[in-house]
């Protein structure tokens, strides 16, 4: 079934040959190299090579029709780095697009990346967007989800029904110079929850509806946010599972204020109910829909400096609460600046995280602390055809008894990168990253990159 959509590709490529007016290719090659020593084992060498390719062809016969492709392939030149195999590849998207001269109407068919209302998805199918009369906007998509398999499908014998189709859309209304309201919808699969036979350990059904709002009465105030509802036809979980049967999946709101040209503030509030929020997950062992309770966070941030100022600062504070774990408070600041004549940019940041202790899984009365301090500094520099970047991040942990730290009290990473723009269309660079492995062993990673652009069209957008 899936292959049907790939059939569109040769058609598009053929038409590309037939007209072939404006085609551009962006290629990016990454070669990584590192050695890893696990205590008690031999040192291993890893060297994955990754190739990204982007193709944009415009004016296919008609000005309004274009073709866009983005994908990658990767191969381990030394030992295997991923559980999924030594060679992997993916077509991120590949679609034919029609854009009308009026109303921002666009239709896309093929493999598409969807970003509409509640859905961020990769879909083999079609999408349609348009601005309508009266300030309405409309978008919709439908197709077969691309990545949807869970690791262990045996927990759900009727899994296929739940993932055979995905569709959704959003209807928005813009109120001139003042506000915007939106209503969006998404559904996975053709079998809504209760039709599945009996009680399921994991109910992956996802049918969600969301309302979103933006209010901008003037340039000083911008309120926006959304509430997502779980509207699947669900069986309530038994009370003794403690799971949360709430129908609100998410509240996510932001209030941005411009206090004066040099000072802005932003307040955020988020609340998520795990069962409703995680519905549709493909990794239930980690994003467990049966986790009891909720997650909530409140944040405030101040932004100092106008967009054109030489310095920009952020002071922020965020409180989080997860019922099954506890509270955390993250606060600190960042400052970035530039020395324009010297093409030099820099930034520094300092954050402190106070957090409740976590218990060792399985052992109830033994706890370890998660509190830590984070320090970051970076510089970028450009001269003629050379670019250089340096970045250092240091974490200091209050409690080295955290099992993830393997007895170490701190963690650092230093990145140095040198780039050379050989021709307007070719840039090569080399990065050296000194950091630690997942076992907190020191590790040095080398990365070679080559970014190459060729074609007969001007480069689209930014990259």
């Amino acid at each position: 079934m899936k292959s049907c959509n790939f059939l569109l590709l040769p058609v598009a490529f053929l038409s590309l040959h037939a007209w072939g007016q404006e085609v551009s290719f962006n290629s990016s090659t990454l070669l990584q190299y590192w050695r890893q020593g696990t205590p008690g084992f031999e040192t291993s060498t890893y060297s994955p090579a990754t190739q990204f390719l982007e193709v944009d062809a415009t004016g296919l016969g008609q000005e309004a029709i274009s073709f866009h492709f983005y994908g990658w392939g990767r191969s381990d030149l030394a030992e295997q780095t991923r559980v999924t195999g030594k060679n992997t590849s993916d077509m991120v998207y590949g679609y034919v697009s029609y854009r009308a001269p009026k109303g921002n109407l666009e239709a896309q068919v093929g493999r598409i990346a969807v970003n509409q209302g509640v859905a961020i998805e990769q879909v083999d199918g079609g999408t349609f967007l348009a601005d309508l009369i009266g300030g309405f906007t409309f978008s919709a998509f439908a197709g077969v989800p691309v990545h949807y398999r869970i690791f262990d499908e045996s927990v759900q014998h009727d899994y296929e029904y739940q993932r055979d189709l995905i569709a959704g859309g959003r209807l928005g209304k813009r109120f001139d110079r003042f506000a915007e309201l939106g209503l969006s919808f998404v559904q996975d699969g053709t079998y809504p929850g209760k039709k599945l036979n009996g009680y399921n350990t994991y109910d992956f059904t996802r049918r969600q509806m969301a309302v979103d709002i933006r209010v901008t009465p003037n340039t000083l105030l911008n309120m926006s946010g959304r509430t997502v509802f779980d509207i699947a036809d669900r069986m309530d979980l038994p009370a003794d599972t403690q799971a949360n049967n709430a129908r609100v999946a998410e509240h996510d709101y932001n209030l941005a204020l411009r206090l004066n040209p040099q000072l802005g503030a932003s307040l955020t509030y988020t609340e998520r109910n795990f069962r409703a929020f995680y519905s549709g997950t493909t990794l239930p062992s980690l994003f467990n829909p049966q986790e009891p309770g909720t997650f909530r966070s409140q944040g405030v941030a101040f932004f100092i400096g106008a967009p054109t100022s030489r310095f920009q600062g952020v002071v922020d504070l965020k409180k989080t609460h997860r019922d099954s774990y506890g509270d955390s408070l993250r606060y600190g600041g960042e400052l970035r600046g530039s020395v324009a004549p010297a093409n030099l940019k820099y930034g520094v940041g300092l954050h402190r995280v106070n957090a409740d202790a976590a218990n060792y899984s399985g052992i109830v009365a033994t706890f370890y602390g998660l509190a830590h301090t984070e320090l970051q500094g970076w510089v970028t520099y450009e001269k003629d055809r050379m670019t250089a970047a340096f970045n250092a991040i240091h974490h200091h942990f209050d409690d080295p008894a955290n099992p993830s730290l393997y007895g170490k009290g701190s963690l650092s990473e230093i990145v140095g990168a040198l780039g050379y723009q050989a021709t307007p269309d070719l840039k090569v660079s080399c990065d050296v990253i000194r950091g630690v492995s997942s076992l907190m062993q020191a590790e040095t990673l080398f990365v070679m990159r080559a970014d190459y652009h060729f074609g007969w069209a001007r480069k689209e957008g930014v990259k």
């Binding site: 109407l105 349609f128 990473e413 907190m440």
Partner: protein, 155 residues
Amino acid sequence: MIRLLRNALLGLGLLGGLACGLLSPEKSFPNPHPSTLGMGQPVCTDCHEEGLKEGSSMLYSSFNHSPAFARDHKLPANRDSATCATCHPQSFCADCHTGKGVVSPALKLADRPDRISPHRGGYMTLHRIDGKMDPTSCYKCHGRSNNQTCIACHR
């Protein structure tokens, strides 16, 4: 299954047709954006009018790529995708919002410390702390797709 997909596409086409009749007569946004921009985060109000224009709900100052915009880009991204698309090919977004991950954004942007990244710096270790405090922030990117790396340890 195939019938379903066909019906869905048909429905989409129908809705599309309906929408065409109701289509706004405003000119579509140019693609690509008519003015090429320098490196670095753009300030729209350098070129575009600051306040709200009559007959438009487009507030350019709210699109200035300030640190605040970068942090909260999800809000305009959900609503104003046609605006984003004038400058950003989808590949730009896909490097962070990918379906199947291959290179972490921190590595892809190793030479761009001035850019935001969902995570940087020793993340194989740090993620165990961040993930404990707030797994819901990871769900957007790793909960439905892009978890080929995670299943090595989280099954």
